[in-house]
């Protein structure tokens, strides 16, 4: 039996897991943004001129929804100032001049065997090591797991890696299978459940076989092979495929007793607990038709995209877009100077070749968007009401249920900007809700004043 969900698409996968991992030489300067997670941004703990060791904590915020950041090289802090963030804005960052010594920081010793059985000790370490959702969402992992304790009866590990191009999860499974299973075991213990379900798409059969040969059951893990279909790696689709449950509209997986943690996050947790290593590097797939060949590069956090491209052989054609993550949900970076961060699973340098741009997209009402929507939505009508600015009907057609997987726009023969429209509409709904809330609060304050 194949675990799956309804809808979805089959993009051209362009995967190259057979290319071995290359270690990308760290740059002369790394840029560590203070916001590499959802939640409160970090406050710098160091100043210009300070010497920092590799792995040293350099930014932190005591708020519950946050994650500290660490130096990815050893060297001297040369600037603490706003720099290009991969997601667009200028955001405070710490710039470190690399001394190329990689002098390690010993602040986080490996956990003892006893500590590795204690949920609190594990969660404390996950937070201290700055672990966030490394599938791309970058939600602080310790907060997510803690929030699910008592509510979650099914822990799901996301090994779908359904986005085209990306190979990081697959290569982690192949290169560090035992460490990965131990990392999942730690998440399972921290979550307070007896079993973790590891959903892996069947295009990674070699990884499934390898993991199964290591007796995952001794770690309390069951491997769940899944049909190869995008967006299998979406949280809601993982929950549906593994448990048959559907996350409620506007709700979280924990609302139906599930938590979903990504492969790379589990490996980061292994490194944090067994090796005392914070999140300072990850496998980044660098690909796209602007490059000669794809590279699976073990890359330090804070490596600028321009430098990364040079290390991967430079451009053979002028890039038109820098796509962060996979091409289905990845958004575009605005600068070659922006750095990789914890959630950067891929950096794709695309040219006109990947872009199937048309000048006057016109909906032909074929309904192909409806058949692929994994959320049972009707994009053709949502777009129609969006174009008219008809909020009432956008809401009636559940536009806010869209999680922007891009399947509808991918499948659209007329090349309508569907996902773009829905993303914009969701932002407009958020702004309206905020405005209404502010208005109500102002009215309440006025009432109170009387």
């Amino acid at each position: 039996m194949s675990h799956t969900f309804k809808g979805g698409v089959h993009p051209n996968y362009m995967k190259a897991p057979e290319i071995p991992v290359t270690v990308i030489a760290p740059p002369a300067q790394v840029i560590i943004p203070m916001a590499q997670h959802i939640g409160a941004p970090c406050l710098p703990l160091v100043q210009k001129g300070d010497y920092v060791k590799m792995g040293q904590k350099i930014g932190e915020n005591p708020a519950p929804v946050s994650a500290p950041v660490h130096a990815s090289v050893s060297g001297t802090v040369v600037a603490v100032e706003p720099r290009h963030h991969p997601l667009g804005d200028m955001i405070p960052a710490i710039v470190i001049e690399n001394d190329f010594q990689d002098t390690p920081c010993e602040d986080l010793p490996p956990l003892t065997e006893e500590q590795r059985r204690d949920p609190d000790a594990i969660l404390e370490r996950i937070r201290a090591a700055g672990v966030v959702g490394m599938g791309g969402a970058m939600f602080p992992t310790a907060f997510k797991i803690r929030g699910g304790i008592g509510k979650v009866d099914k822990l799901i590990i996301n090994g779908a890696e359904c986005e085209p191009y990306l190979n990081g999860d697959h290569l982690t499974m192949l290169n560090f299978p035992e460490q990965l299973l131990k990392g999942i075991e730690l998440v399972r213990i921290a979550s307070g459940v007896d079993k973790a379900y590891y959903g892996i798409e069947k295009n990674k059969q070699d990884a499934i076989d390898l993991l199964n040969s290591l007796h995952p059951e001794q770690y309390g893990i069951e491997i769940v092979p899944e049909a190869v279909k995008y967006p299998q790696g979406g949280e809601k689709m993982q929950v549906k495929a593994v448990t048959g449950r559907e996350v409620k509209p506007g709700g979280l997986p924990s609302g139906v007793g599930c938590n979903v943690v990504s492969t790379r996050t589990c490996y980061a947790i292994y490194q944090a607990c067994y090796e005392g290593k914070p999140v300072i590097e990850r496998i980044v797939t660098v690909a796209g038709s602007a490059l000669r060949a794809p590279v699976n590069g073990l890359t330090r956090v804070g490596t600028p995209f321009g430098y990364l491209a040079e290390q991967c052989g430079g451009f053979v054609r002028t890039p038109r877009k820098i796509v962060l993550g996979g091409p289905m949900m990845g958004i575009c970076a605005t600068s070659f100077d922006a750095p990789t961060i914890k959630g950067t699973s891929g950096v794709l340098f695309f040219t006109e070749e990947e872009d199937r741009h048309v000048d006057n997209p016109t909906c032909i009402r074929c309904g192909k968007c409806i058949t692929v929507c994994p959320m049972n939505l009707e994009p053709v009508f949502m777009y129609m009401y969006y174009s008219k600015g008809d909020y009432e009907n956008m809401e009636k057609y559940h536009i806010t249920d869209c999680f922007e997987c891009g399947s509808c726009a991918f499948n659209c023969p007329a090349r309508m900007p569907l996902t773009h429209a829905f993303k914009t509409a969701k932002l407009m709904f958020q702004a309206r809700a905020a405005a209404e809330k502010a208005k109500a609060e102002a009215a309440a304050a006025k009432e109170g004043g009387k």
């Binding site: 070659f336 872009d355 016109t362 032909i364 074929c366 559940h398 659209c412 023969p413 007329a414 773009h420």
Partner: protein
Amino acid sequence: MSEKKERIVLDVAYQPQVRTATDTRRLMLDVILALMPALVWSVVQFGAAPLLVVVPSVASAVFFEWAYRKLMKKNTTVGDLSAVVTGLLLAMTLPPTAPWWLPVIGSLFAIVVVKQLYGGIGKNFLNPALAGRAFLLASYALIMGTYAVPRALRGAVDGVTMATPLNYLYGEEALPAFFDFRALFLGTIPGAIGEISALMLLIGGVYLIARKVISWRIPVSFVGTVALLTLIFGHSGMDRLDWMLANVLSGGLLLGAFFMATDYATSPVTQGGQLLYGAGCGAITVLIRAFGGFPEGVSYAILIMNLCAWAIDKGFRRRQFGVSKEDIAAEKAAEKAVRAAQVAAEKAARAKAKGAVK
């Protein structure tokens, strides 16, 4: 180096950054390819005559599309091949003996009045080819009702024109022996250019479904409804099965079900809606054939259902993800309970007020 890089203008776009290779033009090309078996068969049966209808029809449809958009200073859309499809489909519904100017008039009506006046591709609410055919049927009934003898029947019948199987049935006459099941299925019968061979249309239809250009829902529910209704009600003086087969295999049913009723702009996009729409087309076809003033009812059945497509879609919303049938039932029950409580409270209040008055 970094200076040079800064000069590269980056495109910043929301996802997705990749698109499927299948575009509008490819879908239209598939429809054109799917019609080729039926067209080739028509040439086999009628010689070059069908081509003398098809070529002016396609050429004029493309010309009118181009000229209208040019005149109105709109972007050129002939590249999407939808005008070719309209011209081709219109020709397929005409008799092989039609004069060259007939499809030109039909194309003018189809492209300009039905399609472009409403905004062009995707915006029209009637199938342009069928509306064009309906226009010609009303204007040139004699030409539209004259059918050439196919090559297979030359010698078996006198003259150069003959009645179609549906003409016989409409006239309450028994079908001649040469209109047997084999003839209807292979297409050795008289009829419009694109409708005579059930086999060739099925090949094209299966191709469209396999290529995911159309879904199976509309053709299956359309043909299925015609088959079911004719089988149930039968026809006096005819075997039920023969009556059903004659209805399904002759006339424009298969051409209509696979190629006309599945027109994107004028058919529902929801799955349930497509089933209902197909069934509606089938039922109206049978009604027209049994009680109407024409031997054939497929075109009008589809045109009538075209007008209902948008309304049908509104009635077939999909289940919201994360909301089960039980959730919906529970919500309805809760609403009902709240209403009942309100009514009870109002009643109590009224009774109290009454008591106070007393």
